[in-house]
Amino acid sequence: MKKAKTKTNAKAQASAKAQANTKAHAKKKTKAARSPKITLRLNGKKAAVAAPPMKRLLDTLREDLGLTGTKEGCGEGECGACTVLVDGAAVNSCLVASCQVDGCDVQTVEGMARGNAKVAARLHRLQRAFLEHGAAQCGICTPGMLMAALALPKRATLDEIRAGLAGNLCRCTGYMKIYDAVAQFLDGERR
């Protein structure tokens, strides 16, 4: 955040340069921006995908990258079912332009288990805690819950768990089993 380079000199320079550059500049940038290739780190591995820049990250993940673990609930940022981590921060992937994750680290639920996820022992500890506590019923909120919970600070209190998961709606469990599972997981992480 820099202060404006003020007053006449900079002003004159800017507008002269702008006049000279604007057309060519804007053309060049426009072309570059249309380039559809997006490269990212996806669940720890390099990935590249060609997608329209304003395609929702949710759709790019599901349709172009074949990762259907991320679910669409409401499509308007209310329910959190589509939560993924971008550079470690929880986001609603239904509200993120694919072009905005170019060069970013993206984590989805598929990145949690090691190898064959049908073997319980290979599940992520947070996933195992969900299993043990019966923290999933219909399951559509579960991937989003898991991702939002992963972004919680290790020392999160129950209130902080509630606040951290406030953007994730579950219509089956009544939330208590989910909080219990997350609390157990965080407790284990602290040891």
């Binding site: 955040m1 921006a33 997608a51 395609k55 929702r56 308007e76 406030a166 994730n168």
Partner: protein, 281 residues
């Protein structure tokens, strides 16, 4: 799903480039729509409401990130400062704690991580939660174009429902606040604590007070403020005056009558705390 393929996006890496792009597009009569965290914009796109044809993605303009504390009372929020940035900033916690309260009630963590204060302002929703706080704190919106920069008081930023004074070649690069003295108060009345759009929002700093969801734009309650500034403390009179400051309507979230009643109740609860020395939050 949206027809993303037909939508143009420009992705400048430098502010100067962004300002050039805005200028060129404005001159061509095809203004670019600035895109920051996308938390409002994608809701309308996903709902199939007609998108503007071209967007300017600001997300790579790293110089616009973060919150700065200057002097004893000033805060400067970058054009891309998010709600999470405000929540985590020690300076904001200390100087304008009601902004932290408000930010925590904007959507869930996922929205707070992406949504920006500048976007909250420019989107122009009368139900924005961050805007009443900034307006009550006398914030200034710093607009920059290729060859000029101007600071507009937030209280004068809106010209009508979702209409602002921003010209198509300008960008919000900063929001500055010299936090006024006095107790601070933030009240959001909604259906539930998280993920709810407000029925009524009130933010106060000293005797400055702004309301959301009770008019086509977020408003300062000028008549009420003048009365309080002159030392008036009669609750009935304060309620009568604030009723002239707001013009609520019936909509999907509430009724005009309910909103009037809630505004009056919030004022009744707030006014007696005005002269207490400690901040009332």
């Amino acid at each position: 799903m949206i027809a993303a393929a037909g939508i143009d996006v420009l992705q400048p890496r430098h502010l100067k480039d962004a300002l050039i792009m805005l200028r060129v597009a404005a001159d061509e009569g095809r203004p670019l729509v600035p895109l920051a965290g996308g938390t409002d914009l994608f809701v309308t796109l996903n709902a199939g409401q007609k998108p503007a044809a071209r967007y300017l993605d600001l997300w790579r303009l790293d110089k616009l990130r973060g919150v700065e504390a200057l002097g004893r009372r000033r805060l400067a929020f970058g054009g891309l400062a998010t709600f999470t940035d405000s929540i985590e900033s020690k300076a904001v916690q200390k100087r304008l704690p009601i902004l932290v309260d408000a930010a925590r009630q904007v959507g869930g963590v996922q929205i707070q991580n992406r949504g920006t204060l500048a976007g909250n302002i420019e989107n122009g929703s009368p139900a924005a939660d961050g805007v009443p706080v900034l307006m009550a704190a006398d914030a200034r919106v710093v607009l920059r174009s290729l060859d000029d920069e101007r600071a507009v008081p937030l209280a004068e930023y809106y010209t009508g429902y979702r209409k602002t004074v921003r010209r198509p070649d300008e960008l919000i690069v900063r929001i500055e606040v010299d936090v006024p003295e006095g107790g601070q108060r933030f009240e959001k009345v909604g259906t539930r604590a998280a993920q709810a759009i407000s029925k009524v929002v009130m933010a106060a700093v000293g005797h400055r007070v702004a309301f959301g969801s009770v008019a086509p734009i977020i408003v300062r309650a000028h008549k009420l403020e003048a009365y309080l500034a002159a030392g008036g403390r009669d609750i009935g009179e304060a309620q009568r005056l604030v009723a002239e400051d707001v013009t609520p309507i019936d909509d999907v979230r509430s009724t005009a009558e309910y909103r009037r009643r809630v505004v009056a109740n919030l004022v009744a609860a707030w006014v007696p705390s005005l002269d207490k020395r400690t901040a009332t939050r």
